[in-house]
Symmetry: C2
Subunit: 445 residues, 2 copies
C-alpha cells in the first residue's frame, strides 16, 4: 500500500492550460513534465491556439531558464523524426546561421566539411523577409532537387557526406506549428523560443555538434549586437546542457557579404570560394567557420592544423569536387559548376553611380536585399537567376562622383526605378574614411 501511494504521488497530474499560462505569466519555471505536456498537447492539437499564443507572449516577457529551454528543445525534437547517423563513423556537425544578405557560406562549408572528413547535414528553411535563402541560391542550378525524403537524405549523407535540402515536415513538427503561430503573434524575437527552435531542428538532423553564425546589423533580423551575443550564448549554453558540442560566432551583417547579391551571381561567387578565391570578407568567414567545424569535429586538434585543413581542401579542389558530388547526387546539372559562364546573363547591366565623391561610410544591407528582391521576383515569387547586383563597393572604399557603387543586372526595365530607390538609399558616402567593421565580433564556446 505504501508503495502504491508513493507511485501515485509521482504521477503527473495534467494541469489546465490556463494554469500553465498563468504560471509563466508570473515568472514561474516549468517542470520537465509540464514542458513535455505542453509540447505533446501542441502536437495532438489539444492545446487551443489562443492559449499557445498567450503562453508564447508570456514567455516573450518572462523568458525561460536554460534548463527549461533545453527540455523544450529536446521535447520539440522528439515530437518528430530524429535522424540517426550513429552508424556512420565520421563526426557529424551541423551549421546554423540566422541569415544574412550575400551570405553563401553554407554552400561552401557543407562540401568543405565533407572534404575534410566531417559529415554535414543541412536542412534549410525559407529565411525571414528580405533575405535570399541558401535554397533559393541552389535553385539557380538547373534540375537540382531540394525536397529529398529522409531515407534519401541519409543515403546521400552516407555516400557524399553532405546534403542541402529544405526543412522536412517530419522534423520537429511542433516547431513548425509554433513558428507559424509566432509569426502572427509578434513572438518571434524571444531568446528561449529561438534557441529551442534552432536546437530542436538542427539536432534532429543527426548532428553531434553545432556551429552557429549569429549575424547582427542592418541586414539581419537582429539589429543589436548585444542581442546577437545573448542569442549566441543562449544557443551554446542550452546546446551544451543537451550534451552537444556547440560554438557560435557573432558576425557582422552591416553590409552584404561578398561582392554580389542574386541567386545565380551568388552561386558563381560560391564556386570561386570553393576554389580558394573570391572576396576577402567571405574568404575570411569561410575560414573562421570552417576552422570551427573541423575543430569541433575533432579532425583538427590545434588552431594551426584547423587552418591548414580548411585551406588545403579549398586549394586542392577537393571541396569543389564534393560540391559537384553533392549537386550531382541531388540531380543538378554540374556542367554549370565546371563552366559558370553557362549561368544565364541579364539583358541589361548598368551601374549605380556614386552621387558624389567620398568614402562608402555605411551600407544598409537590408535595402540592397529588398532592391534585388524587387528586381528579381517574377509574378509567382520565383527569383530570376540572371538578376542581381555585382561589384558592390564595400564600406571604406573611396569613390569618385559617377563611379559605380555597384553593377545592376536586370531583365525587366519596368522594375528598375523601384529597385533603384532601395539601392540608392542603401548607400551613405562621407568625406572621411570610416573604421572598417569587425567581421567576427565574438566567439562563444
Amino acid at each position: 500500500m505504501a508503495q502504491k501511494s508513493l507511485l501515485a504521488s509521482r504521477k503527473f497530474i495534467k494541469p489546465s492550460f490556463s494554469y500553465l499560462v498563468e504560471k509563466k505569466r508570473d515568472g514561474g519555471e516549468f517542470s520537465e513534465e509540464e514542458i513535455r505536456y505542453i509540447v505533446d498537447s501542441i502536437l495532438d492539437k489539444e492545446m487551443p491556439e489562443f492559449q499557445m499564443a498567450a503562453l508564447a507572449m508570456a514567455i516573450f516577457f518572462q523568458g525561460m531558464s536554460a534548463q527549461e529551454t533545453a527540455t523544450f528543445a529536446e521535447e520539440m525534437m522528439l515530437s518528430g523524426e530524429v535522424i540517426d547517423l550513429s552508424k556512420l563513423a565520421k563526426p557529424k556537425i551541423a551549421k546554423y546561421s540566422t541569415g544574412g544578405v550575400g551570405d553563401k557560406t553554407t554552400l561552401v562549408l557543407a562540401p568543405l566539411a565533407a572534404a575534410s572528413g566531417v559529415i554535414m547535414p543541412c536542412m534549410n528553411g525559407v529565411d525571414e523577409n528580405f533575405v535570399i535563402s541558401t535554397l533559393d541560391k541552389l535553385s539557380a542550378i538547373p534540375k537540382i532537387e531540394l525536397d529529398a525524403d529522409l531515407k534519401d537524405f541519409v543515403k546521400q549523407l552516407t555516400d557524399v557526406n553532405c546534403a542541402i535540402i529544405q526543412q522536412h515536415p517530419e522534423i520537429a513538427p511542433v516547431d513548425g506549428i509554433l513558428y507559424e503561430l509566432r509569426q502572427n503573434t509578434a513572438t518571434i524575437p524571444s531568446l528561449p523560443l529561438i534557441t529551442g527552435s534552432v536546437l530542436a531542428k538542427k539536432l534532429s538532423e543527426g548532428a553531434e555538434g553545432l556551429v552557429i553564425d549569429v549575424k547582427w546589423g542592418n541586414g539581419s533580423y537582429i539589429k543589436d549586437v548585444e542581442q546577437a551575443k545573448q542569442l549566441a550564448r543562449s544557443i551554446t549554453r542550452v546546446g551544451r546542457s543537451m550534451k552537444r558540442r556547440c560554438v557560435a560566432l557573432v558576425t557582422d551583417m552591416n553590409q552584404p557579404l561578398g561582392d554580389c547579391v542574386g541567386t545565380g551571381l551568388e552561386i558563381q561567387e560560391a564556386i570561386q570560394l570553393l576554389k580558394g578565391e573570391g572576396p576577402e570578407d567571405l574568404q575570411e568567414l569561410v575560414l573562421k567557420l570552417g576552422m570551427e567545424i573541423v575543430r569541433l569535429a575533432g579532425v583538427a586538434g590545434s588552431t594551426l592544423s584547423a587552418k591548414q585543413t580548411v585551406q588545403r581542401h579549398l586549394k586542392d579542389g577537393s571541396a569543389l569536387e564534393k560540391f559537384k558530388e553533392m549537386v550531382a547526387a541531388q540531380g543538378g546539372d554540374t556542367s554549370y559548376i565546371d563552366d559558370p559562364e553557362k549561368f544565364p546573363k541579364a539583358k541589361y547591366i548598368r551601374k549605380l553611380p556614386a552621387p558624389k565623391r567620398g568614402y562608402v561610410h555605411t551600407i544598409n544591407a537590408g535595402m540592397i536585399a529588398r532592391g534585388v528582391q524587387m528586381l528579381a521576383s517574377n509574378k509567382k515569387g520565383k527569383l530570376d537567376p540572371a538578376v542581381g547586383v555585382s561589384e558592390i563597393k564595400k564600406v571604406g572604399t573611396q569613390v569618385k562622383q559617377g563611379e559605380p557603387l555597384m553593377m545592376i543586372h536586370y531583365n525587366d526595365e519596368a522594375k528598375l526605378d523601384g529597385a533603384l530607390e532601395y539601392l540608392r538609399s542603401a548607400y551613405r558616402l562621407a568625406p572621411k574614411r570610416p573604421n572598417p567593421p569587425d567581421l567576427v565580433v565574438e566567439r562563444v564556446a
Copy 2:
C-alpha cells in the same frame, strides 16, 4: 483635388493584427482608430482568437494609458446596445463592486437609491470563483425573474426606478467575448482590461455616474490593498475622462461582511438592513456607499444631508417598500419579504466549535465561501436557499473553547465533513485581541 487628397490622407489604413500585437508588445500607445479597429474586428470575428490572446497578454505586461483605456471602454460600449435613460428626469447612478463574501449591499442600495430619488440600473454578472453573486441571492425569492429584456428593464427603471437583472447579452458584447478569452488565458488581472470591462458594461446601462466598491483581501480576487487602490484610481480616472462622475471606495474583504453567508440567509439579512437594522459592518458600508450615491446624484449637497437622506429612507420604511416594488415588478413573491420566516429552513443546524479559547485573529473569507459553496450546491450547480452559515464570529471577538464560531445550516449530511474542513481552516484564534480592520481604506474621487 487638394481636398480629395486631404481626405485620402485622413483615411485610416487597416494595420495587420500582428503589427498591432507587436506595437503593444513594445509598449506603444494605440490611436483611437486602432482601438476602434480592434474592437470592431473582435465583434465581427475577424481578429483570430490567437491574436486576441497575444494582444491581451501584451496588454497585461505593457498596460494601456488612461486615454487608450477610455477609448477601449467607449468602443466596447458602442459595440452593443446602450440604454438611453435621458428621457427620465431623475439622476441615474450605477454601482459596481468587485465582489465579496457576504456582501448584500447591492440588494439594499438599489431600492435605497430609488427611494432617495435616484434611478439605479443594475445588471450583474456571475461573480468570480467562490463568491455567491447578487443574482444567486435574489434567486432565493420564489418566482423572481432575472432575465428581463432591455425594453422591460427600461420600463421598470421608469416605473420603480431600480432593477436588478442579469447581464444582457446585447450589452457590450465585445466585453463578453474578451472576458471569456481572458478567463482562459490568465489575462483577467490587468488593470486597463478590468477598467475597460467595468466601464463599458456599467455605462451601457444608462448611468451618468458610477459608485465603485473595490474590495481587497482574502475574500476578494484582489489580495493586495495597493492593487485595489490602483484599480479604484484607474476606474475613476478613466471614467472621468469619459465624462462620467465616478467615486470609488476601497473596502476591506478580509472577513465576510455581516453575520451570514448563503443565499436565503443573506436575503433575510438584506431585509434587516433595509429596516435600518442588522450587523454593524454592513450598516456602515450601506451608509458610506449610500451617501456616495446620493451625493454623486446631487440629491444631497453636504455630507450631513447625505447621511440624513440615507438614514431617513432606511428608518421610514421607504427603502424596504422600494425593494418590495422591485421584487414585485420582477415577478417575485413579496410575501417572503413581509414574513422572512417563510424562507425554507435547513434540516440540520450545528455549531462550529472554537478549538480553544482566544480572540478571532483572522478569518479567511474565501475559505468560508468555499465551505458554503460545497454545502449548498446541488448536482446542477444551483444553491440550496436554506443552506449557509450564520452568527459568524467576526475578527476581534473573544471566544471560549467549544463556543460556536458560527452556526452551520445544512440539508445533506454527506457534504458536511468536506465543508467543515474549509470552515475550520478559515479561522485563526490568538491569545491577544487583534486590531480591527478598517472597513473603508481609501476614498478615490
